[in-house]
Every structure is written in C-alpha cells, then in structure tokens.
Symmetry: C2
Subunit: 491 residues, 2 copies
C-alpha cells in the first residue's frame, strides 16, 4: 500500500492528501469544495464530539439548535462582523424549482424569488443573538450558556479536505453574561477546555495565546486561540474563543434588568472547533506508513488478526481470541477481530497500519502452543511477543504509553522547531529555511504585521499567555517592543 503513496519529504501536501483519501477518512464530492466524510473519518469526529460535548456539559453548557439560514440584513447589524463574514458565502435567492419547458429536468421558478436573500450560516452569532433577545430579561436568566453542533458554509476558493472546505461541521458556543469579568473568564475557561482536549485527547501540544488585531474574529474585542505545529513546521489554529464585549448585545438590543434594577447590555463570548481538528490530527502524528491515531480518538484501538492455514486452525485461533477480545473490551477498549477469509494476514497488517490502529495483535497456532501473542505498536512500529496471561492490562498500559509517546514526540518536534529571531535577516532565514515557530519582537502595529506577512508569508499566530516581558526592538521597524510574538506560516 505504501508504494503509491507519497512520503512527507517528497511532497508533504500530497502525503497529507494521500492519507486522507487512502485511509478512507474523506473524499471530495461532486459539489465544489464540499467533502464527503467517510465512515472511518466520521467515527473519529464522533469520538471528538462525544468528548467535547461531555466537557461542555461539565462546564454548565446546554445544546440547542438555530436556523441554518440568516437573513442578509442581519449581517449588517454588527459593523465589523459584516466585513469578516458576509462575503464569500452561499446565497439562497429562490424557494422553488419547476419543470423546464423542454421537459428535460427542472429550472428555477423566477416567481419564487425571496424578498430578502438568505445566507447559509458562515457562523451563527447574528441569528443566535436575535433569539437571545427573547430569552434574556433579567439577571436570573444569566449566564446563558449555549452550544450548537452544526454544519457551516464558507465559500472558500482553495479547499483542502478537512483543513479548508466550503462546508464543514463544527460546534459553536454562544454565551451571555451579566458582567465583563464573567465573560472574559468564560472565554478563558473554554480556551482551556480546548487546550485540555488537544493535549490530552489529540496528544497534540498547543500554545495558548491571544490573536493580534489582524487575526481577530470579526466582531470580537479579543480572540484567544490554541496553536499547534504540524510536521512541516507550519502552524495550525486548532480552536478559538472570542470575547465579544457588548457588540452583539448592542447590535441585537439584548438588555437585562440587573439585581440593582438597572437595564444593561449583556456581555458575550463565542468559541468553536471544527472538523479541521481531524486534519490537525492527521498532520500531527502520521508518518510515511500512513495514519497514526492517538489511542483515545482511534475508532478501533486494537485489531486482532488470526494467522492460519486452514479452517481447523482458524477455528482453534478463534476459540482463543474470543475470550481475549472480551477481556480487553471489558476495560472499555474497542477491539476488532478481523477473521475475513477474503484477505491474507499481510494485506490486513498493511491495511490497519495504514489506518493508524494503535495496536495490532497477531495470533497463530504456534502462539497458541506457547501461550503468546505478537503485538505491534503503530507509533513506533515495534513488534514484541507477549504472554497471553493478563493481556487486558498489558494492552491498557500499552495504549496509555502510546498516547503519551505521541504527545512527547510532537512536543519534542515543536521544541526542536521553535526559534528566536533578533534581526530581520535572521527572521527571514528562519521562516524561509527552517520553518516552525519564530519568537520575535514586533512593534504592535497592523502595518508592520502586514508588511512581515507580505514579505515572508508568516503571520502572528499569537501572543502567548504568560509571555515573559522582555525589552526589545521590532525585527522590521526597530521600534521598541515589550514582548515577543510567535510568527509562523500557517494553514
């Protein structure tokens, strides 16, 4: 299988695409820029969803569902939001088709033109705040902590499976609070939830920080983000949490009666992660043998493959495997026993290796004689012979080791590819020839950030939280700076 498949060195971008396609995660569809998420890819999304949903509920949030369509005029209500979101989007103008006069199919019925066009949601702040106006009257209705799992459409020109598609799946949290402090606390809390998920479930180290004005969400006062490093040294924004101030409350006239009897605008946050995380997962851990999945998000955590020459041997192996499978499953581990007769063991080994199944167990007649199994780890590709006794605990430990190892490996990679630049020449050289994250001083202006981007394609990924203050000079303009920002080329 690896033969018709690019390595990272040969062509990183092709390597990514090959994994997504050949590991059956997703494919392009007949609709420009829209992907089909195939069952194996969707199973990863279900694991991501289930865990995040638990985390959101544990922090007091409830799910709800709002319309997919947004009246065009809603976008104009918040001045900076319209600039950011009401541009490249799918516009519904009619509500009926009719038979074409030539009898060959259907055409748009011009009599069924909408009075006001509807936009397929590129994000839902406007339609949700339009509802919140009716939900919020007094301080007793606050905080209002809502999340929505939904599909989103942004008419991206250059698309890549999972990373940037015209339609994608996501969750969007939208909360309303009585005070500014509480809203900022919520913004931070949800960024920490994302960071926790990225590091402890995706095994992907992230840097938490705040966006510069250029990269801020349209309509937010502040955008917090988690940034991860991919294996080509490029940054990937894996989640954002926005402090929206009172912008949307003012745009949609959402006020509440405070305990003291005053009538005030509420304070807002929004935050989201999307199916893009699957792209991040692929790029963070996979290797030249295919997909590598962290055990906690692998749809199949353990595959058992029988080695046999005839039906009798298969029967003998199966009798041994079934209780072993049950014992492992009793630890909450998902196990697939692939006893298909239509494929040979070698083919199956390749298949599951390519699909990133964390642990492969092979067992044949000789193992049965000796009370052993052969275990292969996907992360290190190491093979070892284990005694069958107490196999469930060994597997449990091994999965936990693999999870840790993937995280440590990604962390080491990031550290190895993180540099400081003190001069413009040094900066350009690092960005161009080494890639990765570059910590550099910057004068804090939009203009300088734009100039740096135009020359190097690097953007400010974030100004990390708890950044040490350090006097320095902007790498481009030489103006004074009090701290370094992280620059990188990004997805």
């Amino acid at each position: 299988m690896a033969k018709d498949f690019s390595t990272r060195k040969e062509n990183y971008s092709q390597w990514y695409n090959d994994i997504v396609i050949k590991a059956d995660l997703a494919e392009t569809s007949s609709v420009r820029g829209c992907m089909v998420i195939k069952p194996y890819g969707y199973a990863i999304w279900e694991k991501i969803q289930a865990e995040l949903d638990k985390m959101f509920k544990a922090t007091g949030h409830s799910n709800a569902y709002f319309p997919i369509f947004i009246p065009k005029s809603f976008f104009s209500k918040e001045a900076s939001h319209v600039e950011g979101f009401a541009k490249e989007c799918a516009v519904v103008t009619h509500y009926r088709l009719k038979n074409s006069p030539d009898g060959k199919g259907v055409i748009v019925d011009e009599d069924a033109k909408l009075e006001e066009e509807l936009i397929v949601r590129p994000t839902s702040e406007t339609i949700i705040w339009d509802s919140f106006r009716n939900w919020i009257h007094s301080y007793r209705d606050l905080p209002l902590l809502i999340n929505q799992w939904a599909n989103i459409v942004r008419w991206e020109m250059r698309t890549r499976l999972f990373l940037r598609t015209a339609e994608f799946l996501w969750q969007e949290g939208h909360t309303a609070h009585a005070t500014k402090e509480e809203a900022i606390e919520e913004t931070e809390k949800m960024l920490n939830v994302y960071a926790d998920f990225a590091e402890n479930w995706m095994a992907m180290p992230v840097i938490k920080g705040v966006k510069s004005e250029n990269e801020r969400f349209a309509g937010a006062l502040d955008t917090y983000c988690i940034e991860a490093m991919m294996q080509d040294g490029k940054a990937l924004q894996a989640g954002t949490s926005h402090f929206l101030g009172q912008n949307f409350a003012k745009a949609f006239d959402v006020k509440f009666a405070s305990k003291e009897g005053t009538l005030d605008y509420v304070w807002a946050t929004s935050w989201g992660v999307s199916t893009r995380l699957i792209g991040a997962l692929v790029m963070a851990h996979s290797d030249d043998n295919g997909l590598v999945l962290p055990p906690k998000l692998a749809p199949i955590q353990v595959v058992i493959i029988p080695i046999y020459k005839n039906a009798d041997q298969l029967k003998e192996v199966t009798e041994k495997v079934l209780p072993m499978k049950k014992a492992i499953e009793s630890r909450g581990i998902s196990v697939k026993y692939d006893d298909r007769d239509t494929y040979k063991p070698g083919w199956k080994f390749n298949e599951y290796e390519f699909k990133g199944v964390p642990i492969r167990i092979a067992i044949g007649p000789r193992d049965i004689e000796q009370g052993t199994v052969e275990i292969a780890r996907r992360d290190t590709l190491e093979k070892a012979v284990y005694q069958q006794i107490d196999i469930e605990h060994k597997i449990e430990n091994l999965l936990s080791q693999i999870q840790d190892n993937l995280y440590q490996k990604a962390l080491s990679f990031r550290e190895l590819n993180t540099h400081k630049a003190n001069t413009w020449e040094e900066f350009k050289d690092l960005i161009e020839n080494k890639g990765g994250f570059v910590y550099a001083h910057w004068d804090g202006t939009k203009e300088t950030e734009d100039a740096i981007k135009n020359e190097t394609k690097a953007t400010i990924r974030c100004i990390p939280f708890n950044n040490p203050l350090e006097d320095g000079k902007c790498i481009l303009t030489g103006k004074p700076s009090i701290q370094r920002a992280i620059f990188a080329r990004a997805y």
Copy 2:
C-alpha cells in the same frame, strides 16, 4: 401557569402550540418557517438520537456525512424523485455578497453567479448515490450500511413547530445490497427498529404497514411506515423505510461485480425519522396540565424540591437530599435538585409539572422527622408519601410503571378510537364525527383514494402488515376488495 394555556377540548391545535412554547421546547425564528430548538427540546432530541444511534450501530450501520448541497441536475436523474423532491426547496444561486454602493449593508454580487444552482438537500438519495458509485465495486463492498444525522430543508408553506418546518433535523439511512431479497429484509428490519423505538422508548403504540401508491416516497418501489394516533384522533406518520429497488443504482450507474463475475445494479433502501418525533411525543401523552414525557426520554427524570422556611431548614433538607440524589443517580436515573431561592415551592411544582418531569419528590422538615418524602407522578398526578428507605428502588420501579402506563393509556385510546366502516355513509360519519382510524375496504386504485380524500380529507395511512384477508366491497365504488386499509385524517 395553566391559566393562560388552552385545553385540548377548547382548541387542540392551540394546546399543542402552547405546550411547545411554554415548556421551552422550541420557538419560531426570524427566518420564515425555521424553528429554534431550545435547550429543553434539544435535550429530548439528544436522547432520541443517542438511543436510535445505538440501535443503528447494533444492526451494523456506520455514520457518515455528505454535502448539504445537491447540484440541480442530480434531481432529474431519477424520474419520479424529481417530481417529489425538486420543487419547494431552497435554491442557492450565488456565492458572494458585496458592500452595497450606498454603504448601507451588503447586496448579492451578480458576478458571483453559480453555473449550476445548488439545492439545499430535501433528502440525500441523489448526492449519496453519486458517492456510492465510487464506494461499490464488488460483492465484497456489500452490503453498504450508512446512516447520516443531518439538517434538511423543504420549503413548506404552512409550518408548525416540530411537525412541519422548513428546516428540520433527521437521520437518513442509505443502504446498498447485492440482492432484492436482502434489500427488502433491510427495509423491514429498519421499520422494526423504528417501531421498537416508538413503542418501547416513546411509549407510543404504532401500526406497521405499507403505504398506498399515493403516499409512497418519490423514487421508491415500496414505502413501509409506522403510524401513530394522536389525542385528537388524527394519524401521525412517525417513520418510514423505503425499498428503492434499483432505481437509484440505475440513475447513478452503481454496479457491482457479483461472486459469479456478472456486473449487476445494486439494490437500495433508505429510511428516516426526524425532529417530528418530538411533536408526536408531545401530542401522544401530554394533558391539560402541560407536557407529559415518558421516563425513558425525559431529560430530567426526577426533580427534588425542598420545602423550607429559613436557611437552617434548607440546610437540614439539603443534607438529607444529597445522599438520596446520589443513591437515585446510581441507578442511572437523572435527578435535578432545585434549591433555587428565587422561586417558591408552589411555583416550582407548576414549572416541573408543565415541563413533564415524570416524578417530583418534595421533602421538608416534617418529612425529615418522619423519614418520609412526598412523591408525585406526572402521568396520573397522584401524590403519595413514601418511606425514604430504599428510595432508589422505589423510584426505579415507579419510572418503569409510568413508562408502561403511558403506553397502555395511548394503546387504549387508539383502540377506543379505531372503527370499521362498511358503507360510505358510515365511513363519512366516522371520519367527520368520531375521527380516529377507520378500517375500510377500498378497490386499490389511486382514483378512488383521491376521491375519498377530496370528500373527507382522510387518506390511507397504511395497509397493515399481516392484515387479515377478508372479501368485501370498496366503500366508495363497491368494487371487490380483499382487505381493509386504515383511513384517517393525518398530520
């Protein structure tokens, strides 16, 4: 709360709407025909989803996700499908907005017109079969058992919350098989899954049967359905399962190499249920005091309300409640302890009664002295005093009794409102004056069914499976008939 709320007798339709709105299940949005599903309503949907998803997976299905947009031309590929689905739908014609010249908002950018219009999916057979063509090559790829959880848009003219909205949420199963027999078996299997869910989770008895040609899904050879009776005697179709024959395989050229080496078109099914089920749930069980929920789908199964006069008493009650709550939760039961100081017990009693929480526990200082609690059942509105000892088992039993009682009550209601008509006069009288299900002979033609519908607004809900054969004469035409169909007015 009940005062500004209609009874079933006064105005059934208003009663339904009042429950949906006042129990906080859903509301209309600023977008014509689209609803907002509020957290309490969405929590019911999450319970429905979780259980059905488990059932689908237990029967071998995997989830996947396909584009929300369907190229207009796809609808014309299957002749009868285009008639049924490519009419009242949302049509995307443009992919960009721009700033309006007067600076007041955004307008559609006429330069960004799509070459081919995209339809927001009203159902996904076409876009899914367009993918299946690439997924299916040989018999080894079959059966292909896929389900999708998604939003759907049908431009309905008259909308009602949950029952008929322009956008709704649903699941749609799409499967491909090597043989006709296997596809028919799948169609039946999934109808049985729906019936099992309706009866054992929703506590709603259903009749399984086959649709007449008039009511068949556009593109299907046969449509199976489950039909339930609402409290106004009208029928509600709660789920459908379609045998599609080779129609979509032929329309999208999906063939497979059989074991014997021939190249054949595959056989298909599709099946779905939607957020409409929440409407059915409301109408099947609720009463003039508000929502009544079957315990298995209630977001909150038990609410505990403290009775107290001062902070000391609340503290004392709370100390008693917390271990009780824990004990009940240990049985997998969801419990809410409402110790809010902003509302009085009487207000809370009304609130949870209206919201259909199956069991209410009240506990005050006198209960603590006597080791008792007061328990109220939502279904019968009965109150009784219970000893605290072993409360978790008592609650568990009570929930199970409530679940059974709701089912039995709905079943008795259906039986009481099911009649046979042998003449046209009798039929018209039953439909007009009694409502409910009417078993009547029919000559099997579309024309007669149309004529009956035009005169009485009653349609054939289904021809029940295992219908006894019985010689008779069509109520309208007098032509010979071999079995009765079920007629009713329907949602």
